[in-house]
Structure formats: C-alpha cells, structure tokens
C-alpha cells in the first residue's frame, strides 16, 4: 500500500486520458460510418409492424374491405406490392370464421423458396366485419360477414 502515497507520475495519467479520448473518438467515428445489419432478433417484429401498418392504411382508405368482399384478388396483390418495400415478400390468405379459405387465387409476391428457407417469417392477423354490396338499383346487401386475413411476410 505504499504505492498509494505516490504523488508523482502524473504524466502517465495525462497519457492515459489522451489515449482514452483517441479510442472513444475513433470508435464513435467508426460507428457513424458502419452499416449495421438489422438484428435478426427484431426482424420479425419489424415485419409485423410493417404488415399491420399496411393493412390498417388500406382498411382506412376503404380499399381492403372492397378488395376482400368483392374478391378483387389481383387488385389486393397490386395494392400490397405497392405498399410494401420491394425486398419484402408476402403471402396472404383470407378465411371466413369457420376457417374456410376464401381466396381461390394466390395473393402472393416473391420467391416461394424464400418462405420455406427463411427463419424470419412474420405473420399478421387482421379482421374485417363486412362490406355493403349493391345488389341492384335500389337494394344493398349489408350483412355481418367477418373475414380473417393472414399476411405472412419475409425479406427476400
């Protein structure tokens, strides 16, 4: 413990402080330039967030119920392709409450192998209640017919 009484050698302290500053500065500079890959831990969450937002936006505009209840599957695929980033592949299935698949056409974009090979596949569930269908000039059919939309997303 005699060393605790040492009061000389302050230049070493100054050297260490200066060296620390240089290291911290270098690390900060490297951090600015570095392109950090997205953590796979949060990838599925990010895709889920994206999927929910896209479906909610289409629903708010009144497009989603129209495409689903009028069975405009081509338009629905196009709307999803436009709304999602290019590197995001999707596969959507529409079910009724009994679990019967409604879409007879695949609502799909991307390489099928990506869905089987990828470890990060996000799945989004979205519900719809119904849509008024015009039967003739004076009659509308406005029934409660819920649909469950399952949207699977992965990055290509």
């Amino acid at each position: 413990m005699t060393k605790s009484n040492d009061v000389k050698g302050q230049m070493r302290i100054i050297e260490v402080i200066l060296a620390s500053f240089i290291i911290v500065f270098a690390l900060s500079f490297a951090n600015i330039l570095a392109i950090v890959p997205t953590s796979p831990k949060y990838e599925a969450t990010e895709l889920e967030k994206l999927g929910y937002n896209v479906l909610h936006d289409l629903d708010k505009q009144g497009l989603l119920p129209r495409f689903v209840y009028k069975e405009e599957w081509g338009n629905l695929t196009a709307a999803l392709r436009v709304s999602l980033p290019l590197d995001v592949y999707f596969n959507m299935t529409v079910y009724d409450l009994q679990g019967t698949k409604i879409n007879n056409v695949t609502i799909y974009y991307g390489d099928p192998e990506t869905f089987t090979a990828s470890k990060n596949i996000a799945s989004v569930t979205y519900g719809l209640v119904g849509y008024p269908i015009k039967l003739n000039a004076t009659q509308y059919q406005a029934n409660y017919e819920p649909r469950t939309l399952i949207l699977q997303l992965t990055r290509g």
Binding site: G9, K49, G130, P132, Q139
Partner: protein, 242 residues
C-alpha cells in the same frame, strides 16, 4: 516538463482512474439500454390492433344501419355487436381482448336498440349510435372508450314544377355534406312516372352543397314528392315534400 515525463511512479492513480472510467462507461451503457428499451416494444403493432378493432366496430355500426334501413330489422345492431364481441376473440386469438358495448337509447334522437329513423318528412334521417369499451389484457390496455355514430340526412329544399327540378341536400355525421353522389344514388319514388335524368352538385351559401335533380316528365304541383337516397355505405333515407 522533462522531469514529469521521466517519473516512473504513480501507477496506482492510473489504475484507480481506469477503474472509475470503466464504472462510468458501464453505468452509461446500462442507462442507454434502459432509456432505449421502448424501441423494442411493438407499440405500433398494439396501436394498429386497437385502431383495427375501433375502425371495424365503427364499420359494423354503419353496416348495421345500412341493413336496418333496407330490412327495418330493429335488432340488427344488437345482434351484430353480440357476434362481433365473441368473434373478435377468435380473430385475435391469445390477445385477451374484451370489447363491451352500450347501445344508444333515446338521447339526441329517439333511439331504440341503437337505431332510429325519421322518414317521409322534408328533413329525414337514419341514425345509429353505440359506445364501446375495449380492454386488451395481454398488453395492459384497459378502458379504451370510443363512440361510433352513423348518420345520413336527406332534406328536400325545393321542388320546381315548371323545370321539373328537385333541390336536395345530403349530410352525414356532424352535418357534413356528402359529396360525389350520382344519379344512381337517388330515386324518385312518387310521382311514380318520374325518372331522374341528371344530378348536378352545386355550391350553396347556406347548405354548402346541394344537388339539383333534373327529372323527365312533369311534376304535378298538387302531388307530394317522395325521394330516396343511398350513400356509398348503403345507408338509405326516404324524404317527402311538402
């Protein structure tokens, strides 16, 4: 300065400084993780889930009003909301959603089971109202309340028997004029021999937006005019003039 550089002692102070620095960095990293923790919580996903349930509950009130104005089934809103209350649990399995509702009764309008209509008058309307309370236990959300109102008003302002023109206004919730209605959205029920040839929207100082409905044939002055309107949601209203 030379003497200071040549000194070889004082290393304990350096070790102490380094240890303190390490402690500060560790605390800083811990604080940073604590402050940025919210970023990893899917708040947007929760907001969209709440938004989806709210939006579709509102849609269901509109859909039920549209059904009611075509079938006059007074219990349709209650029936639909009961189904929605249980189906929302099946759609969002594992989310622990509890959706409660209260149907409006006789407040502003003479509601019965959340639905009302006042037709065959110069100013007629159809309306529906329900209040909701949403709890999502899985994300700790309780007592999220909202009210869904669906409303459509048709007012026949004037009937010009000389030009066979009927001037009407169509308004939705909060008395906001409904734009972009076309010939297909209107029907002259009486006199029966009258058909619509054109519908022209026009700005009006008082009503903001009025529709001029041009008819073929002559509208007799002694006969009442009965008109129907449907909006894009399928909600119907019948008005009578005078």
């Amino acid at each position: 300065m030379k003497r200071l550089i040549k000194q070889k002692r004082g290393q304990f102070v350096i070790i102490a400084v380094l240890m303190i620095a390490m402690m500060i960095i560790s605390i800083g990293a811990l604080m940073h993780r604590a402050v940025t923790y919210y970023k990893h919580e899917p708040w947007e996903e929760y907001l969209t889930l709440v938004g989806n349930i709210e939006l579709n509950s509102r849609r269901l009130v509109e859909l039920s009003l549209a059904n009611y104005t075509h079938t006059l089934n007074q219990a349709i809103l209650k029936t639909n909301l009961e189904k929605w209350q249980t189906d929302v649990l099946r759609i969002y399995l594992g989310r622990e959603i509890a959706l409660d509702y209260t149907l409006a009764s006789g407040t502003n309008y003479n509601y019965s089971l959340g639905l009302t209509r006042d037709w065959n008058k110069k100013a007629s309307f159809s309306a529906a109202e329900a209040s909701f309370s949403l709890n999502i236990t899985s994300i700790g959300l309780t007592g999220y309340n909202f009210t869904a109102i669906a409303f459509l008003n048709l007012t026949i302002i004037s009937v010009n028997t000389n030009t066979s023109e009927i001037t009407v206004t169509v308004k939705g919730e909060d008395r906001i004029p409904i734009p972009a209605l076309k010939k297909d959205n209107f029907q002259v029920v009486e006199p029966t021999n009258i058909t619509i040839t054109s519908v022209t929207p026009r700005y009006d100082d008082k009503e903001i937006l009025v529709y001029i409905i041009k008819c073929n044939g002559t509208i007799p002055a002694s006969v009442s005019v009965i008109m129907k309107v449907w909006d894009s949601r399928g909600i119907q209203v019948t008005a009578k003039y005078p």
